[in-house]
C-alpha cells in the first residue's frame, strides 16, 4: 500500500521545487528536501518510498526544470497519476524513471492521505473508496521505466526501445 498525495489542476513545477532551492542554489544533496516546501509543508519528511501523487489537469506545467522530477525521484515517489500532464514534465518523468499515468477518475475518488494500490498491468488504481481506471502506458515508455529511466536504458542497450 502507498499513501496518496492529492493535488489539484495546473500544479506547476515551481510548487514542486521553487527556483530558489534549485540544485545549483542549495546543493545536489539537499534540493529534494524542499519539495513542495511552500505548497505542502512537511511533504519531503513525510513521503515514503512508493507513495503516489494524484493530480488533476495539466500536472507539472510551467518551467521545464528537470530537478522538480529529480526531487520526486530522490524522495522515492512511486508514480504520478493525473488527469493530464504538461508535455515536458511527462517526458522528464519517463526519462527519470517515474511512471506518469493518466486517469480521468483517480483524482475524483482518492482523498489526500488515502492508502492506495496502483496496478498498472490491470489498469486500475484502488483505494477504500473505489477503483479508478488508469490508462496503460505505451510499451515504449514501459521499457524505459523498467530500466529505471532513459539514461539507464540507453547505456544498457545503446539505443531507444523500438517503437
Amino acid at each position: 500500500m502507498a499513501r496518496a498525495w492529492v493535488f489539484g489542476d495546473d500544479l506547476d513545477t515551481d510548487q514542486m521545487v521553487p527556483g530558489r532551492y534549485a540544485p545549483f542554489m542549495v546543493g545536489q544533496d539537499k534540493f529534494h528536501m524542499y519539495a513542495f516546501c511552500d505548497a505542502r509543508p512537511g511533504f519531503a519528511k513525510e513521503v515514503r518510498s512508493g507513495d503516489i501523487l494524484v493530480g488533476g489537469e495539466n500536472f507539472g506545467c510551467g518551467s521545464s526544470r528537470e530537478y522538480a522530477v529529480a526531487a520526486l525521484k530522490k524522495l522515492g515517489v512511486g508514480a504520478v497519476v493525473a488527469k493530464s500532464f504538461a508535455r515536458i514534465f511527462f517526458r522528464n518523468c519517463i526519462n527519470l524513471g517515474i511512471p506518469a499515468i493518466e486517469s480521468a477518475d483517480a483524482v475524483e475518488i482518492v482523498r489526500d492521505g488515502d492508502e492506495v494500490t496502483l496496478d498498472v498491468a490491470a489498469g486500475v488504481l484502488r483505494s477504500s473508496r473505489g477503483t479508478a481506471a488508469v490508462r496503460p502506458l505505451a510499451p515504449f515508455a514501459q521499457e524505459i521505466l523498467s530500466a529505471g529511466g532513459v539514461i539507464d536504458y540507453v547505456r544498457e542497450h545503446g539505443d531507444f526501445p523500438r517503437v
Binding site: D9, D10, D12, D14, G19, F24, E57, N58, C61, G62, S63, S64, R65, E66, Y67, V69, S84, A86, R87, I88, R91, N92, N95, L96, A138, F140, G149, V150, I151, V154, R155, D159, F160, V163
Partner: protein, 466 residues
C-alpha cells in the same frame, strides 16, 4: 504484412507536423503515433549545461554524436552576473573546447533562438531539439523545434535522435491586414487569449496566411506557441521552406482559430498570466515603472525601430526607466548603423548587451518588489523578472515605447498619427494623469486585479523560468 499498391487504403491527409515527422522517420505517421527521429541540430544553452554534462557522463558517452550539428550558447545569464554563474560558464567553455564544437556563441552574441534562425541553423522540415522551452521558435522557417529537459538533450546529443509522439495540430488562420500601430505580437497575444496557456498542450500550432511576413514576425509567432503549451509551432509557406513542406489542404485539426488582423487592437497581457489578455483600451492609464524592450519575441531591429519612431527626439517620462536589449549582435549592429540605438539612448534608454537580458530575471534590470514593468517579452509569471512581488504587463514594442514616454499604458495608435503639437499634448495629458508612485507607494495605481476580471480567462498562478 505486405501490401500491394492497389490494396493500400487511400492516404489520409496530413498536417505539417505529420508531413515532417513522416519524412524524417521514414514512416507514414499520424497524430498519436510514437516515432524515433533523427535531429538536424541540438541546441544547448548555459543554464542547463551542468545537467546535460551529467547526463552524458551517466550515459558513458564522452563525445557528442556529431560536433557539426550542435549549437551552444551563453545567453540566459550573460554576461555572468555572479561568481557561481561565471564558473558554470567557464565549465561550459571548457566542454565546448574539449568536444571541439565549432558552433559556439559566447556572452553578448545574442539569444539562442534569434541566432539559430537568423544564421540559418534551422533547416526547414527537420526536427531540432533545444534545451530551452522557446525552441518552438524554429517553426518560423518551417522546422519542427521542440524544447526538452536536460536528460532528453543529453540523449539527443549522444544518439543524434529523439523520441516524439506525433502531435495533433491546431490551425490558426490570419486574415486581413494589420493596421498601423498593431503588430504580429498583438496578433499572437490575441491567439494566446483565445487558446489559453494549456489549450495547445502536446499539440503543434500551424500558422496560415503569414508565410510571407518578415522572418522576425514569424519568430514572434512560433516562439509564443510555447505559452499555449505547444510541442511545436510552425508557419506554413515560408520562403525558406521547400515546396513539399506544406500540409494537405483537407488535413484534420484539433481546433481551428481565425484571427482578423484588420480589426485587431493592440493587446496587453495582465500579470501574472500570459493568457489574461485585454485590448489596450481596457488598460489605458495603468502606470509602469520600467519598460523592457527585447527578448527572442521582440528584440529585433524592427522592434527597436518601432520604439525609436515614438521616442526619437524625446525623453522617457520622469521616474520611468527603459531598458533595451537587442536579441543578437547582428540586430544590435543594424540598430547602431541606422541610428536607432542612438535615438533610443538619447531618449534615456539603457542599452544592454545582446542576450536574454532581464526577461528571466537572472541578469540586468531585474525588478524590485512592487515595481510594475511593461515588457515586450513572452512571460509575466510571478517572479519571472526578479521579485515575486513585482508585476509584469506584456505588450508590443509600440506599447512599450509609449509606456516609457508617458509612464502609463496607452494605445500607441493616436501617437503615430498625431502632429507634433498633438503628440506633446497626448504625452503631457498621460503624464499628468499618472498616479504617484514613490518608493513606498506599494501597488498604488496597479489595476491588475480589475484587469484580470476584465480579461477573457483567469486561473491559478503558474511560474516558468526558462
Amino acid at each position: 504484412m505486405t501490401t500491394t499498391e492497389g490494396l493500400r487504403p487511400p492516404r489520409t491527409p496530413q498536417t505539417i507536423a505529420e508531413v515532417i515527422l513522416s519524412r524524417v522517420s521514414g514512416r507514414d505517421v499520424r497524430a498519436g503515433d510514437l516515432v524515433i527521429v533523427p535531429v538536424s541540430r541540438v541546441m544547448v544553452h548555459d543554464s542547463v549545461i551542468d545537467a546535460v554534462m551529467a547526463g552524458l557522463r551517466d550515459l558513458g558517452r564522452e563525445r557528442v554524436w556529431d560536433t557539426s550539428k550542435v549549437c551552444v550558447f551563453v545567453d540566459h545569464a550573460a554576461p555572468a552576473p555572479t561568481p557561481v554563474v561565471a564558473d558554470s560558464h567557464r565549465v561550459l567553455r571548457e566542454w565546448v573546447r574539449e568536444q571541439a564544437i565549432p558552433t559556439f556563441y559566447d556572452a553578448g552574441e545574442g539569444v539562442c533562438h534569434q541566432i539559430m534562425v537568423e544564421e540559418g541553423y534551422c533547416e526547414p522540415g527537420t526536427v531540432i531539439v533545444g534545451s530551452d522551452s522557446h525552441s518552438n521558435s524554429y517553426g518560423a522557417v518551417g522546422a519542427f523545434g521542440a524544447g526538452m529537459g536536460a536528460t532528453d538533450v543529453a540523449v539527443a546529443l549522444a544518439l543524434g535522435r529523439t523520441w516524439l509522439r506525433v502531435p495533433g495540430s491546431i490551425r490558426v488562420d490570419f486574415i486581413g491586414r494589420l493596421r498601423k500601430g498593431v503588430t504580429m505580437k498583438d496578433a499572437i497575444m490575441r491567439v494566446v487569449r483565445e487558446i489559453g496557456t494549456d489549450g495547445a498542450r502536446y499539440a503543434c500550432v500551424e500558422f496560415h496566411g503569414v508565410g510571407d511576413l518578415p522572418q522576425g514576425d514569424r519568430i514572434t509567432l512560433a516562439g509564443m506557441t510555447t505559452e499555449m503549451g505547444a510541442k511545436a509551432g510552425i508557419v506554413v509557406g515560408t520562403p525558406e521552406a521547400p515546396a513539399w513542406l506544406r500540409p494537405d489542404p483537407d488535413a484534420r485539426y484539433l481546433r481551428e482559430v481565425t484571427i482578423d488582423l484588420t480589426t485587431l487592437e493592440p493587446q496587453i497581457a495582465v500579470p501574472p498570466r500570459v493568457d489574461q489578455v485585454v485590448d489596450v483600451s481596457a488598460a489605458v492609464g495603468q502606470p509602469v515603472d520600467i519598460v523592457f524592450l527585447g527578448s527572442c519575441t521582440n528584440g529585433r531591429l524592427v522592434d527597436m525601430q518601432q520604439a525609436a519612431n515614438v521616442l526619437r527626439g524625446r525623453r522617457v517620462a520622469p521616474h520611468v526607466r527603459l531598458e533595451v536589449v537587442p536579441s543578437s549582435r547582428r540586430q544590435f549592429e543594424l540598430a547602431m548603423q541606422d541610428g536607432t540605438l542612438q535615438a533610443l539612448s538619447a531618449a534615456g534608454a539603457v542599452i544592454g548587451s545582446s542576450g536574454c537580458g532581464p526577461c528571466l530575471g537572472r541578469t540586468g534590470g531585474v525588478l524590485a518588489a512592487q515595481e510594475i514593468c511593461l515588457s515586450t517579452a513572452n512571460r509575466n509569471y510571478k517572479g519571472r523578472m526578479g521579485s515575486p512581488d513585482a508585476s509584469i504587463y506584456i505588450g508590443s514594442p509600440y506599447v512599450a515605447a509609449v509606456a516609457a514616454l508617458t509612464g502609463v499604458i496607452d494605445d500607441p495608435r493616436p501617437y503615430l498619427e498625431a502632429t507634433d503639437e498633438e503628440f506633446d499634448a497626448l504625452v503631457a495629458r498621460r503624464r499628468g494623469e499618472r498616479p504617484e508612485r514613490g518608493a513606498a507607494s506599494s501597488r498604488s495605481g496597479d489595476r491588475s486585479r480589475e484587469l484580470v476580471m476584465a480579461s477573457a480567462r483567469s486561473g491559478p498562478v503558474a511560474e516558468i523560468d526558462d
